[in-house]
């Protein structure tokens, strides 16, 4: 981080604005692959729309399957961006500055991706508007006692607030873009920057607003995933009706979100040539944080197993046994391998500071967390209270295609965002540089003062 104090402010503008113009060739390759995945997903959804949910192999007892797992996965991924950005903002952690923008964008796009899944899962997509809070023709309102409606309101609040938090934090940078752009970009940035000129009153109002919004977003982010956990915990299904589900979900969400930040960090660093801003030092800090969250998640996971085991509830115990040695064992053990064992690599400094090793590990962790969501949803449905309904069903081609498309959709939106808007906050990096310079100038003056004092003392001693 100390190296950053030598970066000139004009160079920061040049580097970040340059990223909007000339990414590496791989950018276009990834974008093309993602577009193909999205096209395949649209085709699969169109097929499911015409033929019905049966083609997705969803039938009793598997009412919920991969779509809901994906929904939880994407909501979880959205967690870390805004939450970490807000927490680090409130605690004045300056290593947040070069990375928070893309992390917040990640939040927004993961919510947009997650929002598709309940709709796809409905099957009857045309009845989506039933979830809106207004009475139907029999004057019956949606049931606000249902966790599903809590979910809808929490996700709406989180998506809106995260989008506003991202936008407000971007206004000073949009003004920089406006001052340097031409053509359609100039028009776009002029409109979005709202005439920002960097006046003292603008900065003061901006900082106050940003901090106040940060204060709202921290509890909001925690509430959103707690409410997603309530979708399960409020039911009486074995392995779902668990008190520790909300904190377990929040920890899991933070964990997978941090892993996603690492993946995108390495990707952006390479594609947009941000080596000077996304430093090894920052990666080291994110890795340590991810490791700590991994341990919290592990603790909650094993405490859940322990509480089921010692509760001696036969239904709960049966599901746990089925999970570990039943037909879904590859999913559960795969999750434990990827999300419990693999993160221990981050205990080593050399590993944490190797960008590509961290990239691979972050993908392994995300795979583990995706499996975790699947093993939360599917195995309990396959061995619930009624043995006559027991059936093992694996997701078919339609579900897998739509799942793959969601990854393409997310990456496509994210890359387009990074191509149109600055993914590194220019003004915050300038602040970082400014404060580091001040601190180093102060320490130099203090050193000189000490040297003078020592010289004077030495002279007095001689005298």
């Amino acid at each position: 981080m100390d190296k950053m104090k030598d970066i000139e402010w004009a160079k920061i503008n040049k580097d970040v604005l340059g990223s909007l113009e000339s990414p590496r060739m791989i950018f276009w390759v990834v974008l093309a692959v993602c577009s193909l995945l999205v096209a395949a997903g649209v085709a699969a959804e169109a097929y499911q729309y015409n033929e019905g949910l049966g083609v997705a192999l969803m039938n009793r007892p598997h009412f919920w399957q991969l779509y809901i797992s994906n929904f939880i996965f994407w909501i979880g991924m959205s967690h870390s961006g805004t939450l970490l950005s807000a927490v680090l903002l409130l605690t004045n952690a300056d290593w947040r500055k070069p990375i928070y923008r893309f992390a917040e964008a990640m939040t927004l796009f993961s919510i947009l991706t997650a929002a598709f899944f309940p709709v796809i899962h409905l099957g009857r997509v045309w009845n989506l508007y039933w979830v809106m809070p207004y009475p139907n023709e029999r004057t019956i309102w949606p049931n606000f006692r249902s966790p599903l409606l809590w979910d809808a309101s929490a996700i709406f609040t989180y998506a809106t607030s995260s989008a506003l938090f991202l936008y407000i934090g971007m206004i000073p940078d949009l003004a920089i873009c406006r001052d340097n752009a031409k053509g359609w970009r100039k028009k776009l940035y002029s409109m979005l920057s709202l005439g920002w000129m960097g006046r003292a009153r603008e900065w003061l109002a901006f900082r106050k607003t940003y901090v106040l919004m940060g204060c709202f977003l921290v509890p909001l982010a925690v509430s959103v995933h707690s409410i997603v956990a309530s979708d399960f915990a409020m039911s009486i299904m074995p392995d779902w009706h668990i008190t520790s589900f909300p904190p377990y979900f929040v920890a899991g969400a933070l964990y997978s979100g941090c892993a996603a930040i690492i993946t995108l960090f390495v990707m952006l660093r390479y594609i947009f040539k941000f080596e000077e801003y996304m430093t090894v030092d920052i990666m080291d800090k994110i890795a340590k944080l991810t490791f700590a969250i991994a341990m919290v998640w592990n603790f909650l996971n094993f405490s859940e197993y322990a509480s089921i085991w010692y509760s001696n509830d036969m239904y709960e115990k049966e599901v746990l046994i089925q999970k570990l040695i039943g037909p879904y064992w590859p999913v559960v053990w795969g999750m434990l391998l990827c999300s419990t064992v693999a993160p221990f690599a981050m205990a080593f400094e050399k590993f944490r500071q190797n960008m590509w090793a961290m990239f691979v590990l972050s993908i392994i962790i995300q795979l583990g967390m995706w499996l975790e969501r699947f093993q939360i949803v599917s195995p309990p449905l396959a061995s619930n209270h009624e043995p006559w309904t027991w059936a093992v069903v694996w997701p078919g081609t339609v579900q897998m295609t739509i799942t793959a498309a969601s990854f393409g959709w997310f990456t496509m939106l994210f890359l387009i965002f990074c191509k149109v808007f600055p993914s590194v906050s220019m003004y915050e990096v300038k602040e970082l540089v400014f404060h580091h310079r001040r601190v180093s100038a102060r320490s130099e003056i203090e050193d000189l003062d000490k040297e003078k004092e020592e010289a004077l003392r030495a002279q007095e001693g001689v005298a």
Binding site: T157, S161, A200, R201, A205, R207, K208, L220
Partner: protein, 176 residues
């Protein structure tokens, strides 16, 4: 609101310390001749110490936040409570609470945050003065690496202010 018959001078400085010295010089000049109507400082980053030189800038945005959050809580609770009442007339509840407090608190909580965030944003617009058009004096250097000072002066004092700005190390001075 801009007063008529005022001149606007805009000076650019290399760094914040020079700009701060320039403002101090302008304040001394103002004490002697009452020359300066208003001073505005433009910078590429936030300088929290700016209030020490320009004077306190009163921006009680937190009041918007507070009242926004309270309004949100009330509106959300009323929505779910009223919806439950409507259900009560149509569908008998069979012993369940008409207004279930624990369930309604979740929606109330979300409403508190949603309105809190939106009304805070309104406060931001009110006190920052944006959206607005760019002034003619605005320089893009301010968004890069220089600090700008905009001074409103009466025409008879414009020369004195200009020379003060020049003496304090202005890189460029514009006038309207």
């Amino acid at each position: 609101m801009r007063k008529k018959n005022l001149k606007f001078l805009f000076a650019l400085y290399e760094d914040f310390d020079r700009a701060r010295d320039a403002v101090a010089e302008l304040k001394i000049l103002d004490l002697k001749e009452t020359a300066v109507e208003d001073i505005e400082l433009y910078s590429p980053i936030e300088h929290p110490e700016v209030e020490e030189i320009l004077g306190e800038i009163h921006q009680p945005i937190q009041r918007f936040t507070f009242f926004g959050a309270i309004t949100g809580a009330i509106c959300a609770f009323l929505l779910v409570a009223a919806a439950a009442q409507s259900m009560f007339t149509v569908q008998p509840q069979g012993g369940k609470a008409v207004i279930p407090i624990p369930a309604d608190l979740v929606i109330t909580y979300e409403g508190t945050i949603l309105f809190g965030v939106w009304i805070t944003l309104l406060g931001f617009f009110v006190y920052s003065g944006i959206p607005r058009r760019l002034t003619r004096l605005y320089s893009r250097k301010v968004s890069e690496d220089q600090i700008g000072i905009e001074v409103q002066v009466t025409p008879e004092h414009a020369d004195a202010v200009r020379s003060t700005l020049e003496k304090s190390g202005a890189l460029e001075i514009r006038e309207v």
